[in-house]
Symmetry: C2
Subunit: 283 residues, 2 copies
């Protein structure tokens, strides 16, 4: 997905929000706004928004000296998720369609996105998404692909969300490889948190090598690109990965909640819609 | 009121919104975002936000060639107001406190602000504001000042709002001077619209000489500054005038709805609160 005009004010808004979490020094925050403002002219409309996100968060780290401003909140989100985990397992167990419930929960976890200017309440959001109609619901194709493939490359998104991914992965008899970011970027999941959540007991964890808040192939390492190209089935979580992968020429299933109006429009849904969308499917 | 950090993303948002109303040419809009982005570093935090507004809207006119992008919507707002006018007069006539009802209506008109990223529905907003509690309600002082003074300098804000100001001015037995902007800026009122609405039948209309979307004294003409300093009583409508005049050392009554969270915080109220606030009052 390319950059839209609406992304530019949003880049400034994200800068301000992340800067405030990184430092209390208003002079540094103003300097950041100045520098990002000057950078805007160099952002090609053809680049994906997470590429700019990467540059902005690097600039924030450079000016504030804080490499992981979301560390604390990320930890709290994970603990909140883990506290809910037994209850979520119960919900899956008692549901008519365990897989679908696990898919819904994996999408519910996608609300834990600190890059967005949106409040979330994970307990309320879980309840809502368990009942919400899908705006795009390629569930039959999803099940068909699960039947046809033994291995899944599962691209994670936010750290707190990984607890919810765990629920879905536990429903899959497949050999799963779980993909994380190379370094902390916004509240995205890294190897450290994926292990803490226990994904390593269920799946192989690999880093895509990216330092952007999304999966942009040309910013990923060769090992990941090879695995991505050769993977028989790919599940991609969240907006950042969608932005990077929406135009890639291979089959992918996107699971996400459309939190940004521009991404929603790109997918062809409304803001706050939930989506299970397959692209480039041959069966 | 000075510029706050939150104003910077908002300047970009305003640029995009106004640019889109001015032109359909995405290349021009991108150029505008680039140029405003580069300008941000030169905005002193000590300047008032309408000063930056002036520069941005001049830049929009320069790049798009459109000097009055809001002309059409402004006209529609005025017609909508004029259509409501007989009904509004009826409401005043049937109220227990005609003056207070007229003050409420003058504030209700303040929702017609196209510089804000807020939807408004004038009929619904009038109904709401007629019943809404004031967050600051210096009504006793306001009445006392009305009793003590024969002349009022009444500083207008948005063009559609002027229909609602007319209702209040008609309740005042005073000699009123109604102040407008020098040129069209956002949807602010100019001499042309004030006359069309019939303010010239009730008051003397003068321009403050400003081309900013607010009253910043150093950008006003000498004639206005003299009148402002010598006026026995000043009524100032809306946020843009508040931003310019909040730190001025003379008595002023501000009538407004706090639509921006930053201005609301500066006044000491919440977003969407309505305010009748007097400053520097000796009685």
């Amino acid at each position: 997905m390319k950059t839209y005009l609406d992304c530019f004010p949003c880049f400034m808004q994200q800068t301000l929000r992340a800067a405030r979490i990184s430092t209390n020094d208003e002079t540094k925050i103003k300097k950041l706004l100045d520098e990002v403002g000057m950078m805007l002219k160099d952002i090609p409309m053809e680049s994906t928004p997470p590429e700019t996100g990467e540059i902005i968060y690097k600039k924030i780290a450079e000016i504030t000296g804080n490499n992981d401003p979301y560390k604390k909140i990320k930890g709290q989100n994970i603990e909140e998720g883990l506290k809910l985990y037994p209850k979520l397992k119960e919900i899956v167990k008692n549901s008519d369609d365990r897989l679908l419930t696990a898919v819904r929960l994996a999408i519910a976890g996608n609300v834990i996105d600190l890059g967005m200017d949106k409040e979330f309440n994970i307990v309320k959001d879980v309840k809502k998404i368990l009942k919400q109609d899908f705006a795009i619901f390629d569930y039959e194709q999803f099940k068909r692909h699960l039947d046809l493939h033994d291995e899944i490359l599962y691209i994670g998104d936010n750290a707190g969300e990984t607890v919810f991914d765990k629920i879905l992965i536990e429903e899959l008899p497949h050999s799963v490889t779980y993909v994380v970011r190379e370094i902390p970027i916004i509240n995205d999941v890294t190897i450290e948190e994926a292990k803490y959540i226990g994904i390593d007991k269920l799946a192989k964890i690999i880093s895509s090598g990216t330092t952007a808040p999304g999966t942009i192939l040309r910013l990923c390492n060769d090992d990941f690109i090879k695995k991505f190209n050769n993977a028989s089935m790919v599940i991609s979580k969240g907006q950042g990965n969608y932005e990077g992968l929406s135009d890639v020429n291979r089959s992918i299933f996107f699971l996400l909640k459309a939190k940004c109006p521009i991404i929603a429009r790109h997918i062809g849904v409304k803001e706050n819609d939930i989506v299970l969308k397959g692209i480039n499917l041959n069966v």
